[in-house]
């Protein structure tokens, strides 16, 4: 008995200590204005040459702004939301963090998240200069919660050597999905373990956003206009999915990448003819003579999908928030965007930069094919719904696509089942 009581006392003491500790932290950080130089914590997910480019910009900023020092920390983008959750539980979020656009609804209610709606209207931001798709993706329920950090889109990357060997003509801007399917079939060689196409099959958002452009091109949509019901199981949606199942199940011309990672290595070793992917993968293909072409289309509609990522800002008091905003405005300004684009191949997404022809010419020479991706931003017509229940809608769609492509369910049944699940989630979230 006595021992148990002592353990209890120790626990209570620790709890008390933990609580007091928390209070101390809060009172230390709730100052009003900066009382001298500040150091800002800054989370980003860049590695390798992308990190080199970012660090060069940070050095420049730190040299020019002795009062505001940026302290960068690498955080894997795929787990940035989880790490932020832990930091928020500890009451110490970073001042600035990189987050996927799709995470905005999740962090919209986070304590300390800075609402940027008024600030982006200030002249130093020049908000209207960002492409519309990026601004929409930064806005959740009318509030601007992030500043666009990076935009990708999907296009076809193909191995020219494999096309030549198979005697197939290179993709062109007028291709239909039937052309794409025929080429994938011709490029497949089971004896040599060679596939015409590869598809991410981990049922994640990556699986889903590869399907979205087909759905949209064919006139379908993910949800109804008021975001209250699933709409992807329409005849247009089923037809779009049948393109993928036709290749995966009937032709067996698709490498079904359940891990969603071996595909880069396999493409680079000449085992895959075509990928639908974004500019971030191009630097992984040094051994392949590749070409880039915009997506095939339905009835001449070649629209693609954009994946915008965001810089989000948290208010840690003591003038940190204002300093963080000053820095983010500088980092996303036209000059810095140009410098970073030339160093990394990141697509520029300010209109003033895209319209600068001298710059675009130079940009096309950095990594072969990035200019096609840059121009492809003009083929972005729609965005995925930004809402709290989206992760569950996405999960249902991902499972439907994978089950249909594995031949477990026919496309109509798979999408109908997913629509029922998505509707439940949407109803629950209200």
């Amino acid at each position: 008995m006595r021992r148990r009581m002592l353990v209890g006392l120790v626990v209570l003491g620790l709890l008390a200590a933990a609580c007091t500790g928390g209070d101390d932290d809060e009172s230390a950080t709730t100052g009003e204005t900066a009382s001298g130089p500040v150091t800002l914590t800054f989370w980003h997910g860049y590695t390798d040459y992308e990190a080199d480019s970012l660090n060069a910009l940070l050095d420049q900023w730190n040299a020019e702004n002795p009062d505001i020092t940026i302290d960068p920390l690498f955080v894997n983008n795929d787990k940035a939301l989880q790490k932020l959750t832990v930091a928020l539980q500890g009451g110490e979020p970073p001042d600035i963090t990189y987050q996927y656009g799709s995470s905005l609804p999740q962090i919209a209610e986070a304590p300390g998240l800075v609402d940027l709606t008024d600030w982006v209207q200030s002249p130093e931001v020049d908000w209207e200069d960002f492409v519309a798709g990026a601004r929409d993706a930064a806005t959740f329920e009318g509030r601007v919660l992030g500043v666009p950090a990076l935009i990708d889109n999907l296009a076809v990357v193909y191995n020219k050597t494999l096309f030549d060997e198979a005697g197939v003509e290179y993709p062109n801007a007028d291709w239909t999905w039937d052309d794409f399917r025929a080429a994938a079939k011709a490029l497949t060689d089971p004896a040599n373990k060679q596939f015409g196409f590869s598809y991410p099959m981990d049922a994640s958002e990556d699986t889903v956003w590869h399907y979205d452009p087909l759905l949209w091109q064919n006139g379908g949509s993910i949800l109804t206009e008021d975001n209250s019901q699933a709409a992807f199981n329409s005849p247009e949606g089923v037809e779009a999915l049948e393109v993928l199942t036709g290749m995966a199940v009937e032709d067996e011309s698709v490498f079904l990448d359940l891990q969603n990672s071996p595909y880069t290595g396999l493409f680079n070793s000449g085992k895959i003819g075509m990928l639908v992917t974004g500019p971030w993968d191009l630097s992984s293909f040094p051994d392949v003579d590749y070409g880039v072409e915009i997506l095939p289309g339905f009835d001449g509609d070649h629209q693609t999908i954009a994946g915008p990522d965001m810089w989000t800002v948290f208010d840690n008091g003591d003038g940190h928030a204002q300093a963080a905003l000053d820095f983010v405005a500088w980092l996303t300004a036209a000059d810095q965007m140009k410098a970073d684009a030339l160093a990394t191949g990141h697509l520029p997404f300010r209109l003033s930069v895209i319209d600068d022809t001298a710059f675009v010419d130079e940009f096309g020479k950095t990594i072969p094919g990035v200019d096609v991706f840059a121009e492809n931003l003009t083929n972005v017509e729609q965005a995925r719904p930004v809402l709290a229940a989206y992760p569950q809608v996405s999960e249902a769609m991902g499972l439907a696509i994978v089950s249909a492509m594995l031949g477990e369910k026919d496309p109509q049944t798979a999408l109908d089942d997913a629509a029922a699940q998505a509707n439940d989630a949407l109803a629950l979230a209200g």
Binding site: L6, V7, V10, V11, L14, L15, A18, L81, Q82, L84, T85, L88, Q89, P105, Q106, I107, A108, E109, A110, P111, K193, M201, D202, A203, S204, F255, L256, L258, Q259, P262, A388, A389, P391, Q392, E395, L399, V402, S403, L406, E408, L428, A429
Partner: protein, 322 residues
């Protein structure tokens, strides 16, 4: 501790104060205080990383709360009530039971076989014992990467070898009907060393004279194993059954890294589903962390009851030698 009253002191209050001080002084020099001082570091660690989260999780399970959104709403037992009608929770439960039903007997039987093989005088026995144990100290990530390549449908070594004898190709982690079995193979391999060491120790504790007596009485090797050795291994088997069941029901790392619950949710086990709800899907205004905590508590109760049942059964069938 016994306290003898000082008796003669007139002033009761002063006496009480003195008594308290004296009691505290005695405590400081007693074995109790020294004992507590020694275990204090672990007590603090267990409290901070064990007891506090356990209590916090219990509170959370009665709330509608997300880990990011600051809003908390008391909802009574409705999180618990929701579990029964959640098809994904049911799928996770079925997957977990399926995994445990394969993993526990497979890992114990294979370990018994290998321990028996290693419990004799053969050349390089130390090397074999070391080799069997190495997977246990290898990180899950390394094991996972290795098995992903080994079991790759198109380029893996396993399919290449099986192809040589006319089998396959198998989808392994990529086939919804084989993924769980592939996961069992991988985890049995990973945990084999631990079970083997326990059995090896137990086998070496089996008295030789019993086996000799059996053979004199004309018992074959087979029957002396099942009639003499196997009962003597009872305590070790009970330990391994309990331990393996608990770890099987809590499977997470391998699923998180290797299959991420797929394909088609066929390897989505309970702890992985809890993680997805609390840390991936329900962070914001969906507020699913409370629901996830409720599932975690149900799992805790199931494990507790199962363990008690195993010990109760064990007391009736396991033979403890003196």
């Amino acid at each position: 501790m016994r306290w003898r009253s000082p008796g003669r002191l007139g002033d009761l209050t002063a006496g009480r104060a003195l008594r308290t001080v004296d009691r505290f002084r005695r405590f400081l020099v007693s074995d109790h205080a020294a004992g507590w001082a020694f275990i204090l570091p672990s007590v603090i660690l267990i409290a901070v990383f064990g007891i506090v989260p356990i209590l916090w999780g219990l509170i959370l399970s009665f709330q509608k709360a997300g880990l990011i959104s600051p809003e908390r709403e008391w909802v009574g037992v409705s999180n618990y009530a929701k579990i029964a009608s959640d098809p994904k929770a049911r799928q996770a439960a079925v997957n977990t039971i399926y995994y445990s039903a394969l993993f526990v007997p497979a890992s114990i039987l294979v370990a018994l076989f290998i321990a028996h093989a290693l419990n004799r005088r053969i050349a390089f026995v130390r090397f074999y014992r070391l080799a069997v144990f190495i997977p246990v100290v290898t990180s899950t990530i390394a094991t996972g990467i290795m098995f992903l390549w080994l079991f790759d449908k198109n380029y893996g070594l396993a399919n290449w070898l099986l192809g040589k004898v006319g089998l396959g190709p198998f989808g392994f982690f990529e086939d919804p009907n084989q993924a769980m079995i592939a996961l069992v193979l991988m985890t049995v391999w990973g945990w084999l060393g631990f079970d083997t060491i326990i059995y090896l120790a137990a086998l070496q504790g089996v008295p030789q004279e019993l086996l000799e007596a059996a053979s004199i009485d004309g018992a074959s090797r087979w029957s002396s194993f099942w009639r003499v050795t196997w009962p003597m291994l009872g305590p070790a088997t009970l330990l391994l059954v309990v331990w393996s069941t608990i770890s099987a029901l809590q499977l997470f790392d391998e699923v998180f890294f290797v299959t991420h619950g797929g394909p088609l949710g066929r390897t989505s086990v309970v702890v992985f589903y809890v993680y997805r709800l609390a840390f991936e899907q329900g962070l914001g205004s969906l507020s699913l962390a409370g629901y996830a905590a409720a599932i975690a508590y149900v799992l805790f109760l199931v494990i507790l009851l199962l363990t008690l049942a195993q010990f109760w059964l064990g007391r009736r069938v396991v033979h403890y030698s003196s």
